[in-house]
């Protein structure tokens, strides 16, 4: 287990000044670049400060047994934005994602400290029902995993068991349209979902998640098992979905993160190193470690 010291990144500084440099003016970056520690901790820098965050993560620690997987993560996730979590394998990004809808507590021997608020409500409070949390914060997994049932049943099922009393046909159509799948399946709704292509299956899983009418959709590498064309369809879908939902996506594909996300958080060894608007993080990262990672110099 690494020490805290090794994961702390020095603020990015320009190369050292030579002797004749008039140093009275100080570092060029000191006044303009916000200190990441404070921007990550306070969440005030990256986006419009007026917007109330959808999710508020405060000093989150998580352990798998003795393994301290998340070490004091503090970040705000803005509504109607796509937030990408990036970082090398084992950095804690998937663990963080699964904390956001209490999926991790299904694993034995785990411990969580800190708070996660969704619209100001503590999802780990004693009186909060985890099932309700997962209804509000839906999840799409890496591999498409439709039920071996019809397309229609896949989408309708979650709503039905949740006691949905509205028009199920309309809900199925709306969910499939939002997932950009309707036009491709509207004439075969009652055929087996497993006959769909991989990309269609993944969009069906997105539709299934949306049918439960969540506010937040978590996606764990949703396109990593797909070919480029299916990937691009899923990416377009994600971009469309942010009108109605708040999206948090874990991805190993940094080009995907840069294409579809508004905010990017870089995690390393269980810590949040930098969170910034995506265009900034991929052009002028604040931290040397972020730059080294996004340019492929380590990781």
């Amino acid at each position: 287990m690494p020490t805290n010291e090794s994961t702390e990144d020095a603020p990015r500084t320009p190369p050292p000044a030579s002797a004749e440099e008039p140093s009275a003016n100080g570092r060029p970056d000191a006044s303009e670049r916000p200190d990441t520690e404070s921007s990550a901790a306070g969440g005030e820098a990256p986006t419009e400060p007026a917007m109330k965050p959808k999710l508020n993560i405060n000093d989150l620690h998580f352990w798998y047994g003795d393994n301290h997987a998340l070490q004091g993560i503090t970040m705000d996730i803005q509504p109607h934005k796509v937030t990408a979590l990036i970082g090398p394998s084992g950095c804690g990004k998937s663990t963080l994602l699964r904390c956001l809808n209490r999926m991790n507590e299904l694993i034995q021997g785990t411990t969580l400290e800190g708070t996660i608020l969704v619209d100001g409500q503590d999802i780990y409070a004693e009186n909060t029902d985890p099932v309700m949390v997962r209804r509000r914060v839906g999840m799409v997994f890496q591999k498409p995993n439709p039920f071996p049932k019809t397309i229609y049943k896949n989408v309708a099922w979650g709503a039905e068991i949740n006691g949905y009393t509205g028009d199920i046909d309309a809900l199925v159509e709306r969910s499939l349209r939002q997932a950009a799948l309707w036009d491709e399946v509207k004439d075969r709704l009652h055929t087996n979902a497993l006959d769909l292509s991989g990309g269609q299956q993944q969009r069906l899983c997105i539709a299934r998640t949306l049918a439960v009418q969540p506010d937040v959709v978590l996606m764990d590498e949703p396109a990593s098992a797909l070919d480029p064309i299916a990937t691009s369809k899923v990416e377009e879908t994600i971009t469309e979905l942010k009108k109605d939902y708040t999206i948090v996506i874990v991805t190993h594909n940094m080009q995907q993160a840069s294409r579809i996300s508004d905010e990017t958080a870089f995690l390393y060894m269980g810590r949040l190193i930098e969170m910034n608007p995506t265009d900034q993080l991929f052009t002028r990262p604040e931290k040397d470690r972020t730059e080294a990672y996004v340019t492929g110099r380590f990781g």
Binding site: P14, P15, A17, S18, E20, E21, P22, N25, G26, P28, D29, S31, H252, M254, Q255, S258, F282, T283, R284, P285, E291, V294, T295, G296, R297, G299
Partner: protein, 244 residues
């Protein structure tokens, strides 16, 4: 995730090409000024002919940049390096064009030896060449401070151009018998002023690559790192001016 070792190789090769470009342009500049000062028409013709090689190198560098952008999708400092490379490539090529244009005046100035040396043009040429060389060094060493000095020097060259322009116009107004030659000296002055502008552009691109800050279209007073007091002009190994 970029394939680091292959991207590094491509970047090293790109930097090599740009260094070659900078060297050739610097040589062209020295030859062009010597041709003018010594009335050496043959040397001037060599400079004109040598511009083709610079044009060819410009295309090669652009192709290499396009390749890297397409194949490696660079980000952050690597992306800024590529953006810088494309821009300074154009600046070097334009300096090459100005050297060619300078040389085209040689035949005319050869008829009036000494007239050029009596102006402040050799001094301007010294300053512009120093800027070009320091810009080249700043590129090779990723030295943002050296780059900033180049940017600051451009003002000095602009001032000399204005002075020279006024002096030459005054000579015309006073009925100088070689007004055609004075017209050629005006084009020389303008070319030197443009060369220093391109050297400044190169230096600004280098600051952009190193720091991610865009210094274009800003006064030096808006740049917190601008050198306040420039050291005296370094003597070039080959000085065009006769001043002590």
């Amino acid at each position: 995730m970029p394939n680091r070792s292959s991207l590094d190789q491509e970047l090293v090769s790109l930097r090599g090409l740009i260094a070659d470009m900078a060297n050739r342009v610097d040589e062209q500049f020295a030859d062009a000024m010597n041709a003018l000062l010594q009335g050496d028409v043959e040397l001037a013709e060599q400079v004109v002919a040598g511009d083709d090689a610079i044009d060819a190198l410009e295309l090669r560098i652009d192709e290499q940049c396009e390749r890297i952008l397409a194949l490696h999708s660079p980000v952050a400092v690597d992306l800024r390096m590529l953006i810088m490379a494309v821009k300074i490539n154009t600046d070097f090529e334009r300096i090459g064009d100005h050297c060619r244009n300078l040389s085209r005046n040689a035949r005319h100035l050869a008829d009036a030896p000494g007239l050029l040396a009596d102006t402040r043009l050799p001094k301007m040429a010294d300053m512009s060449r120093t800027m070009l060389r320091e810009a080249e060094m700043a590129f090779l060493e990723n030295d943002r401070l050296k780059a900033r000095k180049v940017i600051a020097r451009d003002l000095q060259v602009n001032r000399l151009h204005e002075e020279t322009f006024a002096t030459l116009v005054e000579m015309c107004e006073n009925g100088h018998e070689r007004s055609e030659i004075i017209a050629h000296l005006l084009t020389v002055s303008k070319a030197l002023e443009r060369i220093s502008d391109h050297a400044k552009n190169i230096a600004q691109s280098i600051v952009f690559m190193v720091e991610g800050r865009d210094l274009r279209h800003r006064g030096l007073d808006e740049d917190a790192d601008a050198p306040e007091n420039l050291p005296p002009l370094d003597a070039s190994s080959e000085s065009f001016s006769q001043e002590p």
